[in-house]
C-alpha cells in the first residue's frame, strides 16, 4: 500500500472529484515512485489548468487487486522536480506535462519535447523556446555517442513503406546499434483539446480516428467513460457485440502483423496469405457495421448495429474459414528453421526492463508480464467471460510473434462462443446527461495493449479534461530498448514486432 491516501476506483466507474485527494507534489511523487515496487504501475499522469496553476493527476493501476488509485497535486510556478531517475516509467509523462503546460522538469535526464507543440499555457515554455514561436518538429538535442567509427543514422519522418511518419535516430558502431532514439509528433492533431472545445457532433468521430486501426478500442474506452460519467449502462447485447468487435480488431491486426513479420524476414508465403486474411477479418467487421475499421459501430449507450440470426451464421462460417487458413499460413512460421533463426533472440526485452518501463499489452506479455486489462480490470462483457491470458517468457521477436498466434486462437474461440449465446434485448439506450464534477478512468485492452482514457467534468457537467493514453505511449520506449546491441538491419523486424501507433502517441 502507498503511504498517502488515494481515491480507489474501478474501471469505468465514476467518482466525485471531491473524493480524489490533493496532496503536496512530493507526496504524490513518492506514491508514484513506490508504485512499481508494490506490483503497481503508472497508467496515466497528466496536467490540467487550475487558475494560474497546474493540477497534476496520477492514475496508478493495481492489477492484482483490480482497482485504480488516483491522486492529485498542484504545481505553482514554471517548474517541478522530476522523478524520472527514481521511476523511469514516468519519463514520457513528465515530458508531456512539461511540453503541454510549460513546466520545466528539473532534473529530468531526457528533458525534451514529446510532440513539438506549443505550450497550452501562453507565455510559458518548458524548453527555453521563444513562447510565441512554435517548436520545430524533429529538431532537438538527440542523445549522441561519440568516438572513432561511431556513426549516426537518421530515418524519417517519411519512410519507405506505406506507414505513418516518425523520426528514428540510431547511434551505431558498425552494424551494431548502441542506442536508438525515437522522436515523434508529426501526427499531432490536438484530439484531446478538440474533444473539449470542438463541436460536440465531432467527438465520437475524432475518437474513431484517434488510431484508425484501433477504432473499436478507443471508441469503446470513450463510450465506457461517458457511460460512467452519466451513470448509464449499455445493454448486455451491446456489451457482447462490443467485445466481438474488439476481438475482431485484434484478429485483423495480429494476422496482418504475422504476415508483415514474415515479409520482413523474406518468407513470402505467410506474408502473402496473412495479407489477404487480415482483410477477411476486416470484412467481418464490415459485415457487422459496413466499415472495415468498425466506424459507426460503438456509440455511447450501446452499439448502432444489431445482428440477426442470418448475419450471425454468416459471420460464424467466414470466421471458421479464416481461422483454418490462418492456422495453415502461420504454422509455416513455426516449422521453418530460417524464420525461427531470424525471430529467436532478436530484439529482446527482459521482464525487468518491461516492468521498469511500464510496458503494457502484447509487448509486456511477451516479456512474461501478466498484464491484460480484460483480466485485471474487466469491464463490459469481460466481467462475465474471461479470455485466458497468454504470456511468453523470451521477450524477443519470436515471443511477440508467437503470442499473436496464441491470442488469435483465444479471440476466435471467444467470438464463436459469444455469437452462439448473444444476450437478447435492445442494443442501445439513451445516455443520461454527464454528472458534474466527476472523474472516470476507462480502460480497454486494445490489440496493442491498455487503452486508458481519463475524463473529468466541470460544475456544469461538460467535459473539462480528456486524457488519452494509447498503449503506444508506454511501449515506444520498449522498442527503443529492444534495439540495443542489435544489428541495425533488424530494425524493421523489431519495429513490426511491436507495431506501435504514431497517431495514437501523437494524439
Amino acid at each position: 500500500m502507498t503511504d498517502i491516501s488515494l481515491a480507489r476506483l474501478h474501471n469505468g466507474v465514476a467518482v466525485p472529484l471531491g473524493k480524489v485527494p490533493t496532496h503536496p507534489l512530493a507526496d504524490l511523487q513518492a506514491a508514484l515512485i513506490a508504485a512499481p515496487t508494490q506490483h503497481r504501475r503508472v497508467a496515466a499522469y497528466f496536467g490540467r489548468p487550475l487558475g494560474d496553476a497546474i493540477e497534476l493527476v496520477a492514475v496508478i493501476a493495481a492489477d492484482q487487486e483490480g482497482w485504480l488509485e488516483v491522486g492529485r497535486a498542484i504545481v505553482h510556478g514554471d517548474a517541478f522536480a522530476s522523478i524520472t531517475t527514481a521511476c523511469p516509467q514516468v519519463h514520457l509523462f513528465e515530458r508531456e506535462i512539461a511540453e503541454t503546460w510549460g513546466l520545466a522538469p528539473v532534473g529530468h535526464p531526457w528533458s525534451k519535447p514529446v510532440r513539438f507543440v506549443r505550450s497550452r499555457r501562453a507565455g510559458h515554455g518548458a524548453f527555453g523556446q521563444p513562447t510565441e514561436a512554435p517548436l520545430t518538429v524533429g529538431v532537438t538535442d538527440f542523445y549522441r555517442v561519440e568516438g572513432e567509427e561511431v556513426h549516426e543514422v537518421a530515418v524519417g519522418p517519411v519512410h519507405a513503406g506505406v506507414i505513418e511518419p516518425g523520426h528514428f535516430r540510431f547511434q551505431c558502431y558498425g552494424e551494431q546499434v548502441l542506442h536508438l532514439e525515437i522522436s515523434l509528433g508529426y501526427q499531432h492533431r490536438g484530439i484531446e483539446h478538440a474533444v473539449i472545445d470542438g463541436p460536440k457532433q465531432r467527438v465520437i468521430h475524432q475518437l474513431e480516428t484517434l488510431a484508425g486501426d484501433t477504432t473499436i478500442g478507443h471508441t469503446s474506452a470513450y463510450c465506457q467513460a461517458v457511460e460512467g460519467l452519466s451513470g448509464s449502462h449499455a445493454p448486455a447485447r451491446a456489451q457482447a457485440l462490443r467485445g466481438i468487435a474488439l476481438e475482431l480488431e485484434r484478429l485483423a491486426n495480429h494476422t496482418g502483423d504475422l504476415g508483415a513479420l514474415a515479409g520482413d524476414v523474406g518468407f513470402l508465403p505467410t506474408a502473402a496469405y496473412c495479407g489477404r486474411l487480415r482483410g477477411d477479418f476486416l470484412n467481418l467487421t464490415a459485415q457487422l457495421c459496413g466499415s472495415r475499421f468498425g466506424r459507426g459501430l460503438v456509440r455511447p449507450g450501446g452499439v448502432a448495429f444489431d445482428v440477426d440470426a442470418e448475419r450471425i451464421r454468416d459471420v460464424q462460417t467466414k470466421l471458421d474459414a479464416a481461422l483454418r487458413d490462418v492456422k495453415s499460413a502461420v504454422r509455416l512460421l513455426w516449422t521453418t528453421a530460417s524464420v525461427q533463426a531470424r525471430f529467436e533472440d532478436t530484439g529482446p526485452v527482459s521482464a525487468n526492463m518491461a516492468r521498469e518501463l511500464g510496458l503494457v499489452g502484447l509487448a509486456a506479455r511477451a516479456s512474461g508480464l501478466r498484464r491484460d486489462v480484460r483480466k485485471s480490470h474487466p469491464s463490459g462483457i469481460f466481467q462475465f467471460v474471461h479470455i485466458p491470458l497468454s504470456t511468453w517468457h523470451t521477450g524477443d521477436v519470436f515471443a511477440r510473434a508467437y503470442l499473436r498466434w496464441l491470442e488469435i486462437e483465444r479471440s476466435v474461440a471467444f467470438i464463436k462462443k459469444q455469437l452462439t449465446e448473444l444476450p437478447s434485448g435492445t442494443t442501445r439506450r439513451a445516455c443520461n446527461p454527464l454528472r458534474p464534477e466527476q472523474l472516470c478512468v476507462s480502460l480497454v485492452e486494445g490489440w496493442r495493449g491498455e487503452i486508458c482514457h481519463v475524463a473529468m467534468t466541470d460544475p456544469s457537467g461538460a467535459l473539462a479534461t480528456y486524457k488519452v493514453v494509447d498503449p503506444s505511449f508506454h511501449n515506444w520506449t520498449g522498442l527503443a530498448m529492444s534495439l540495443r546491441n542489435q544489428q541495425i538491419s533488424d530494425f524493421p523486424l523489431c519495429n513490426k514486432s511491436f507495431n506501435l501507433s504514431y497517431c495514437g502517441h501523437d494524439l
Binding site: 510532440r115 507543440v117 512554435p134 518538429v137 519522418p157 517519411v158 519507405a160 513503406g161 506505406v162 506507414i163 505513418e164 511518419p165 509528433g185 508529426y186 501526427q187 499531432h188 492533431r189 490536438g190 478538440a194 470542438g198 457532433q201 465531432r202 468521430h205 475524432q206 480516428t209 484517434l210 488510431a211 484508425g212 486501426d213 477504432t215 508465403p269 502473402a272 496469405y273 495479407g275 489477404r276 487480415r278 482483410g279 470484412n283 464490415a286 459485415q287 457487422l288 457495421c289 459496413g290 466499415s291 472495415r292 475499421f293 466506424r295 459507426g296 448502432a304 448495429f305 487458413d325 495453415s328 499460413a329 504454422r331 509455416l332 516449422t335 521453418t336 501507433s501 504514431y502 497517431c503
Partner: protein, 253 residues
C-alpha cells in the same frame, strides 16, 4: 519442404477478378449517398445540424452532400425525420476536382482520365510515394492492402515505391498536420516533373474531422496541387483502386 507446397495448394488462388467482375461489398457498406428528394421538406435542417463535418447543406433541390467532407457515418440518416437519406453500395467515389464531389445523391459522374500526354507517361506505369500527413492509419491500411494478393495493384502497372525520387507522384493521406507540412512540401519537391498528387480520404481532401483546427491544415490541396480526390473515411480499397484505374484511363464508363 512439402508443407509450404501443401499450404500453397490449400490457400488457393485469391486474386479478385476485378475489374472484369464488379466487387461484392457487404450489405451495410456505405457508398455514394442516396436522396429521396420527394420526402425532404427542405425546411427542417436536421441533417445539416447533425453532420459532424459540415458536409451537408440544403438547396432548393434538397440536401447536397460534399463527399470530400463526408465521413459516410450515419448521423444524418438517423437525424432525418422523413427518412429521405441513405447510402448505396456504389463504391465509385473519386473525382478530379473537389467541386465534382458535391452531389445531390446518386452515382457520381465517371472520373476523368489524365490528359493525353500524362496518360501516355503514366497510363501503363505509375509509381507512387505515399505520405501520411496526420492520417489515422486507416487510409494507410487500405492503401497498403492494395499490394496484397487480393487486389494485386502491380498487375495494373501501379506500384508504391520507397523514395519520392523514384516516384511519378504522391498519394497523400491525413489533413496535413502543422508538423508534417514541411515534410510534405519537401517530399513533393523531390518527385521529378511531371508529377501528380492523389488526396485519399476525407482528411486529405478537406481536413475532414480535423478541419479548421489550429494543429492541422485543411487537406493536401492547401499545400500541394491535387489531381485526384478519393472520398471516404477511409475509402474502401476498391474505391481507391477504382480512382487510380480511372485516372490512368484503364477503366472507363
Amino acid at each position: 519442404m512439402f508443407r509450404p507446397l501443401a499450404t500453397r495448394i490449400m490457400q488457393g488462388h485469391r486474386t479478385s477478378r476485378y475489374p472484369r467482375v464488379a466487387p461484392t461489398l457487404p450489405d451495410r457498406f456505405r457508398g455514394a449517398p442516396t436522396v429521396d428528394a420527394a420526402k425532404c421538406t427542405r425546411s427542417c435542417q436536421a441533417c445539416v445540424a447533425a453532420c459532424p463535418t459540415g458536409a451537408l447543406s440544403l438547396s432548393e433541390r434538397g440536401p447536397v452532400f460534399d463527399l470530400g467532407r463526408c465521413l459516410f457515418c450515419t448521423d444524418c440518416i438517423e437525424a432525418c425525420p422523413q427518412k429521405a437519406l441513405g447510402f448505396s453500395r456504389d463504391h465509385r467515389l473519386s473525382a478530379r476536382t473537389h467541386a465534382e464531389l458535391v452531389t445531390h445523391g446518386g452515382p457520381l459522374p465517371a472520373t476523368r482520365a489524365l490528359d493525353k500526354k500524362m496518360k501516355k507517361l503514366f497510363g501503363r506505369s505509375l509509381k507512387l510515394r505515399q505520405v501520411s500527413a496526420g492520417g489515422c492509419n486507416a487510409c494507410e491500411a487500405d492503401v497498403n492492402v492494395l499490394s496484397t494478393i487480393v487486389f494485386d495493384l502491380g498487375r495494373f502497372g501501379i506500384q508504391v515505391v520507397a523514395s519520392p525520387r523514384h516516384a511519378d507522384g504522391l498519394l497523400v493521406t491525413g489533413p496535413v498536420t502543422e508538423n508534417m507540412k514541411r515534410a510534405l512540401e519537401k517530399t513533393y519537391a523531390a518527385v521529378p516533373n511531371p508529377k501528380i498528387v492523389i488526396a485519399t480520404g476525407a482528411c486529405a481532401i478537406s481536413g475532414g474531422i480535423y478541419a479548421e483546427r489550429p494543429e492541422t491544415h485543411n487537406g493536401a490541396d492547401s499545400v500541394v496541387p491535387v489531381d485526384l480526390y478519393i472520398a471516404g473515411c477511409p475509402p474502401h480499397p476498391f474505391t481507391i483502386l477504382d480512382g487510380l484505374l480511372r485516372l490512368t484511363g484503364r477503366l472507363a464508363g
